[in-house]
């Protein structure tokens, strides 16, 4: 606070000094400014007055008041004058700028002007107060020395005063600003000096109060800095001294307290009694143990006489010892002490003399030694007892020794028996056919028998143990781990079959059975087990397995394996989006022909050959399978593009088409391939295979040695076909209910005699929904699916029944007159491969009771062509039955005359296309010539020739002219239901056709 006072005083002084200075300056300069400005304005007013008087002399002299007024108006406006007044030389007012009148003050001056002695001398300046407290500087300026009158002007002092006030104010503000700046500077300057001083004072104060943690930040190069530095050093030194002093005092105190504490603890807690007496035998000090010893707990005996308290004897010892112990160490006495209650106990007293400041004292330690004496007696008793016990023990031991000797003899006997047994088992071990081994979990062989060594190709078990303990015999590297795992899992291994490598490197299959041997703590000792060589059994198994999944003839995978592979490929494709595969289905063209004609041996060879060709084309990852017969399937896996599959097909077709030499015969075959490329959409392998099959059928239908890629259209067509098949089967099975299948009978006329010569039986199928199916639409399907057999049998049976009716009707009209009346029934070529046909026909004919001569079978040329061998046989049998045989559409196929002879055909039919060509020689030349040839051929071979599809009279006439005897067609009648056909016969058409064209009614 002292320093705060110093700061304030200094500042006050500076402020006061500056303040007085500024005030003086301001007042002085304000006054000077005022005076100078007043002077300046007065000068200006005079100058203005003079300029008006001198500058407008001409106007002023003109006495034209208006012009003068204009001039002074201008001047007043320009000079900022408060008024101008012009007098003429007579002193009359000529013009002025007052409103409304010239003030009296001014008029007074104006009136006195002419009378003035010095009027002409020059201007006159005075200050006037006008009404309204307006102070003006009035200047009167004579014109031309008064001859031209006088100009009076007034300059308002108010603006002057305002300007002066403003200037002074500005100056004072400046002074004030400077003053304030000085004060601020002074403030900071003084604070710069007093601040460190104040800090130093505070610092010193704290040091004085023993606060040495305080620091002083004052650092400068001046005197204050040095002062601060000196103070800091001083404070540091004082602090050091004081701290050290305090510390040593504290340490000493502490040590003393510790010593005292320890001492009193010792005194209080020792079991011996402590007694301190002074020279007079007065008790100075004692401890609780002493009181306990004497049975005086709780009593205060300090200050009492020792002999008085503890008895004369003790007292005497204590005091007597004083002399003895003088100058020497402790003196030991044994006394019989007496307690206050009279009981006595032996005590040991140690007396020592200690010189204290208050005088020498006797320090006595008393010990009750009655217990020690008692223990000595007990020890003696124990020694005697021990000696007695040792003697007894020695007797027991000699007895036990005798028993042990007997046991040793017994054990020797048992050991001999064991050795004998072991020799017996070792014989078994050595001579067993199976390998026996013991092995540690680390696969170190403990033992192995000779059979084991033999199996694995070692000369002796020792060799085996030496070698196999180092390396694994297993072909699979992880086999040992598997063995271990099994062992650890169940404690035994059974039928553990694995491939092992014998010493010479050959591979064997062995089967191991082993178990874990543990000791009674459960620790694994070793594994022991048997090994048998199962190589032969394995080989047999593999062979069986191969046979199950492979075709025995070609060695190719069979359908089962193929389907498995296909399924896996589909799986893979599902997992890997870029995995592509294709499925191919192949059928050999005309394999049956080769098989039938050249024999099964050759057929088998051919299949093997084809299989090899396929294998050669396929990659190792592909699967080539034989499905039986001449059907093969190929699975091309992991192809990069569809083109790969196409290329494969081309190569296969090319390779297969190569002529091959089989047993010295050159055989040529070809295949048809169906491919499914877009395999990703399929769910089931069966569907995939089905579609490949479909595609293959399409390829076949298009001609041999081709391939076809399955597409959607095929699928649709296959579906349609299937539907049709189902519908057809249903129609056939349920015909008596549905009545969808009907037979129609188209009359065949003998155009020579103009009578009915027979019918052709035509099958009509009206499908559910009323759609008429022509035979051409569904017969190929029926043939393909095999429905043709029941269908044809059904047709045949139905027709036979009808024919019997026809026969009856014919006989009714004329029992003898209908030679050659026959009804033609179409039979599919398929039947000619079936051995059942003839028997069936025979049975039906017999069942119906119809004459075989009334029936003729119509077949197409292709029947004969496809299957020459069996067909010939069948045809012969049919002829034997007495049925007629007619070749349909003769001339459109191969038209082999050989067949006609071989099959003993009795009729041929001219195709409707040829008939339609009659009379249109220009367009389709040759029809007439062909018909002509056929008719000639027929007559030459004594065949019935029937022209089909006769629709015009011209055709009829032409055929007649050629000598063609039979014809059918719309010209005569369409196909008729059975009832109408029957009515026709009943009406006598068989004798004469009622309305025979070309001949009129006659």
């Amino acid at each position: 606070m002292r320093f705060r006072g110093l700061f304030a005083r200094l500042l006050l002084f500076v402020v006061a000094a500056f303040g007085v200075m500024a005030l003086a300056t301001s007042l002085l300069s304000g006054r000077e400014l005022n005076e100078s400005m007043v002077r300046e304005y007065e000068g200006r007013a005079v100058a203005l007055a003079r300029s008006i008087a001198d500058g407008n002399t001409e106007i002023l002299l003109s006495r034209n008041a208006g012009a003068i007024q204009a001039a002074i108006d201008l001047h007043q406006e320009m000079g900022g004058l408060s008024y101008i007044l012009v007098l003429d030389p007579h002193g009359d007012v000529v013009a002025h700028t007052f409103a409304p009148v010239v003030p009296e003050e001014v008029m007074a001056i104006v009136r006195e002007a002419p009378g003035k002695a010095h009027f002409g001398a020059g201007h006159e300046t005075r200050t006037l107060i006008l009404p309204g407290d307006v102070e003006v500087i009035h200047v009167a300026q004579p014109i031309l020395g008064g001859k031209g009158g006088c100009v009076h002007i007034g300059l308002d002092k108010e603006p002057i005063r305002k300007a002066i006030r403003k200037a002074i104010f500005r100056q004072q503000m400046l002074t004030l600003g400077v003053f304030l700046a000085f004060v601020a500077v002074a403030f900071f300057f003084i604070r710069g000096i007093t601040g460190p001083l104040r800090q130093l004072a505070a610092y010193a104060q704290r040091v004085a109060n023993h606060d040495f943690t305080a620091t002083c930040d004052v650092r400068s190069g001046d005197e204050i800095g040095s002062l601060a530095e000196a103070m800091r050093t001083m404070a540091g030194q004082i602090s050091g001294h004081v701290t050290q002093l305090e510390r040593s005092v504290a340490e000493a105190t502490c040590e003393l307290q510790d010593a005292l504490g320890a001492l009193s603890a010792i005194v209080g807690n020792i079991a011996d009694g402590l007694l301190v007496v002074d020279a007079d035998g007065v008790i100075v000090r004692h401890n609780p143990a002493l009181l306990r010893m004497y049975g005086m707990e709780g009593q205060d005996i300090a200050g009492r006489n020792c002999a008085e308290v503890f008895g004369a004897q003790t007292g005497e010892v204590v005091t007597r010892s004083r002399e003895e112990s003088m100058g020497s160490a402790a003196v030991l006495h044994e006394v019989l002490a007496t307690r206050p209650d009279g009981s006595q106990f032996p005590a040991e007293i140690t007396v020592s003399r200690v010189a204290l400041t208050d005088g020498p004292v006797q320090v006595c330690i008393l010990r009750d030694i009655s217990v020690a004496k008692k223990i000595e007696q007990e020890r003696e008793q124990s020694r005697v007892l021990l000696e007695r016990m040792v003697a007894e023990r020695t007797r027991d031991l000699s007895r036990t020794n005798t028993q042990l000797k007997i046991e040793v003899a017994e054990r020797k006997v048992v050991g001999d028996a064991l050795r004998r047994a072991e020799a017996k088992f070792r014989g078994i071990f050595e001579n067993a056919a199976e390998g026996i081994f013991q092995i540690t979990p680390e696969f170190r062989y403990l033992s192995a028998n000779p059979a084991m060594a033999h199996i694995l190709g070692y000369d002796t078990p020792e060799d085996l143990i030496a070698e196999l303990s180092v390396k694994s015999p297993y072909v699979e590297p992880n086999r040992r781990q598997e063995f271990l795992a099994l062992m650890e899992e169940s404690g035994r291994v059974q039928n553990f079959e694995s491939q092992v490598r014998t010493r010479d490197g050959s591979v064997l299959w062995i089967s191991e059975n082993a178990r874990k041997v543990v000791d009674n703590t459960g620790r694994v000792l070793f594994y022991e087990g048997f090994v048998s060589d199962i190589t032969l059994r394995k080989q047999a198994e593999n062979k069986l397995m191969h046979q199950a999944f492979h075709d025995s003839l070609t060695g190719l995978p069979n359908r089962l394996l193929f389907m498995d592979h296909l399924r896996m490929a589909m799986e893979r494709a599902r997992r890997r989006p870029n995995f592509r595969f294709a499925v191919l289905y192949m059928d050999l063209d005309r394999f049956k022909v080769i098989n039938d004609s050249l024999g099964h041996d050759i057929g088998d060879q051919l299949l093997r050959h084809v299989a090899q060709a396929l294998m050669a084309c396929a990659r190792s990852t592909d699967t080539v399978a034989r499905f039986g017969g001449d059907e093969f399937a190929i699975l091309l896996e992991d192809i990069t593009a569809h083109r790969d599959a196409i290329l494969f097909c081309r190569r296969v077709l090319e390779d297969i088409a190569q002529p091959m030499d089989l047993d010295g015969r050159e055989v040529v075959t070809s295949g048809s391939l169906g491919i499914v490329l877009r395999t990703e959409a399929y769910e089931r392998p069966e569907a995939l295979l089905r579609d490949a099959d479909t595609a293959m059928y399409h390829a076949k239908a298009m001609g041999k040695s081709r391939f076809k890629v399955f597409n959607k259209k095929m699928h649709t067509k296959a579906l349609e076909t299937m539907e049709t098949e189902i519908a057809l089967r249903r129609a056939l099975d349920l015909n008596h209910e549905l009545d969808e299948l009907t037979l129609l009978y188209q009359p065949i006329l003998d155009i020579k005699q103009g009578r009915l010569a027979g019918f052709e039986v035509l099958l009509r199928w009206r499908r559910e929904g009323g759609r008429e199916m022509l035979p051409g639409e569904f017969i190929p399907l029926a043939e393909e699916t095999g429905i043709i057999y029941p269908l044809d049998y059904w047709v045949f049976a139905q027709a036979c029944c009808a024919i019997r009716e026809f026969d009856k009707a014919l006989e009714a009209r004329s029992p003898f007159g209908h030679q050659g009346f026959a009804t033609n029934i179409n039979i599919s070529a398929k039947h000619f491969r079936s051995p059942m046909l003839v028997g069936h026909l025979e049975q039906t004919v017999r069942n119906c009771g119809v004459k075989p001569q009334s029936i003729a079978l119509e077949i197409t040329e292709s029947v004969l062509l496809d299957n020459v061998g069996s067909a010939t046989e069948v045809a012969a049998k049919i002829r034997e039955l007495g049925l007629g045989l007619c070749i349909d559409d003769f001339g459109t196929g191969y038209s082999s005359l050989n067949y006609i002879q071989r099959f003993s055909v009795d009729a041929i039919k001219i195709d409707r296309d040829f008939v339609a060509g009659i009379g249109r020689a220009g367009e389709e030349g040759g029809s007439e010539a062909i018909i002509n040839t056929l008719v000639t051929l027929g007559s030459g071979l004594r065949l019935k020739v029937v022209a089909e599809g006769v629709e015009t009279v011209e055709q009829l006439n032409y055929l007649s002219s050629l000598g063609c005897r039979y014809a059918q067609g719309y010209l005569f009648a369409p196909a008729l239901p059975e009832s109408e056909a029957l009515r026709l016969i009943q009406s006598g058409a068989a004798e004469s056709w009622p309305d025979f064209p070309g001949r009129g009614k006659g």
């Binding site: 008041a65 208006g66 012009a67 108006d73 700028t97 009148v101």
Partner: protein
């Protein structure tokens, strides 16, 4: 000034230029500047298109007057009269084939705008001549400018002021005055007052050149009778009717005058008369022509309706034109006819009152008629010098006023007769014309 071009476009161009000039104080400077430039450009283009159509040539005159402020009545009425005369002449095919156009600018009875307007007329619009300036202080300030434009022969025609300054050297050669001077008027008034036995005559005048001129006139006239002004008071130019003049009245009444001559504008004089009559001053009060008797009476009648007393008695109005009601004057007849046909092409924002016949517009009309007659005689190539020559040369021009007009080189004032009137029975009555004397 002389232009070729289509009448419609030129008329509209001129009109636009006028409007731009009138709105000088209220519009942004660039727009004001832009419009005349555009108009000028248009005019030049059109002038180039049709150089040979003499019948459509026109003469443009610049008029700066008060169209706003207390004195605006003067400017408007004088303009109306001029325009009536111009339209009358233009309707009959122009003055000597020349179409007369009046371009106007507002100075608000203030000398400085008048100065600026004049410079604008001469340098921007390049008018043929200045015409019909209204007011003494404004016109007096313009006079040195005319001297400045001496080389171009610029002249001021028929300003509406009677100030002596316009009739004396050094400026009398740039000005043609039609009306009688204030000296003429004050002399007439003082003579009439003295004749009726008034000896103590006081003056109430405007504190500027106009007022001082009137004051001087009164002083000079009284001097002829050995008398002097017993008292005079001034008022500041631009005083409105509402101003309090009781102090002025009091100052004059202290001198006990038996007649008062006022030299001021209509609102100021009316205000003074109002306060004088209210203060019980019954002495006759005379006014000069510039005080616009019609307007002044209008103020007093309105005041009379409020206070219920008649302020119009004992008033003498000095005029420089005869009554437009006088049936014996052909000029008055023509004036009334022309005014009834006039379309009063004053800009709408300045046209606040309906037209009524008025002495000011009559005077304007007469000025226009003199100008028309002069232009008719100009011949094919109008020049300013030519116009001055025609005016000086035509002797005893009769425009149907009963007084022939003569201009001379040393005397540039056409008319000298003054008329004293009183307001009686709701109308003005001419006491007697006083024939002017050429000095």
């Amino acid at each position: 000034m002389f232009r070729h071009g289509k009448p419609v476009s030129l008329a509209s161009a001129a009109c636009r230029a006028r409007r731009a000039a009138l709105s000088l104080t209220s519009r942004p400077a660039w727009r004001v500047a832009l419009r005349p430039v555009l108009c000028l450009a248009l005019c030049l283009v059109l002038a180039g298109l049709s150089p040979a159509r003499a019948a459509e040539r026109e003469l443009v005159f610049g008029m700066s007057a008060a169209f706003t402020g207390p004195a605006r009545g003067l400017g408007m009425e004088y303009y109306r009269g001029l325009m009536a005369s111009f339209e009358h002449a233009n309707a009959q095919g122009g003055a000597g084939g020349l179409r007369l156009v009046l371009s106007l600018r507002d100075d608000g009875y203030d000398p400085l705008p008048a100065l600026a307007n004049t410079i604008g007329f001469v340098e921007q619009e390049r008018v043929f001549a200045l015409l019909g300036y209204v007011g003494t202080p404004t016109t007096a300030r313009v006079l040195p400018l005319l001297k400045h434009y001496e080389a171009e022969g610029m002249i001021l025609l028929f300003p509406f002021t009677g100030a002596d300054l316009l009739r004396e050297p050094p400026y009398n050669s740039y000005v043609f005055n039609l009306r009688a001077s204030y000296f003429d008027e004050t002399r007439g008034v003082v003579e009439a007052l003295v004749a009726s036995g008034k000896r103590r005559i006081a003056v109430f005048h405007q504190g500027d050149i106009y007022g001082r001129n009137g004051w001087d006139g009164v002083r000079r006239a009284l001097k002829g009778f050995g008398l002097s002004i017993v008292a005079d008071v001034t008022y500041r130019r631009g005083a409105p009717y509402t101003q309090d003049f009781r102090q002025e009245v009091g100052l004059l009444m202290a001198a006990q005058p038996d007649a008062i001559v006022t030299v001021g504008t209509a609102p100021a004089c009316a205000g003074f008369i109002r306060d004088a009559r209210n203060a019980g001053l019954a002495a006759p009060i005379a006014t000069l022509s510039f005080a616009d008797a019609d307007n002044l009476v209008k103020f007093l009648l309105a005041q009379g309706r409020v206070t219920g007393r008649d302020y119009t008695t004992e008033l003498i109005f000095s005029e420089v034109v005869p009554s437009y009601d006088d049936p014996s004057l052909p000029a008055a007849k023509l004036y009334r006819q022309a005014m009834s046909q006039s379309h009063a092409a004053l800009p709408a924002h300045l046209m606040r009152e309906e037209y009524v016949p008025n002495r000011l517009s009559f005077e304007g009309f007469l000025a226009g008629q003199v100008l028309v007659e002069a232009v008719k005689r100009l011949g094919g190539a109008p020049t300013r010098a030519g116009l001055a020559r025609v005016l000086l040369n035509q002797k005893n021009l009769d425009i149907g006023l009963g007084e022939n007009i003569n201009f001379e080189a040393d005397h540039n004032q056409g008319l000298h007769q003054t008329y004293l009137m009183v307001y009686r029975d709701g109308g003005f009555q001419t006491l007697k014309p006083r024939h002017g004397v050429r000095p």
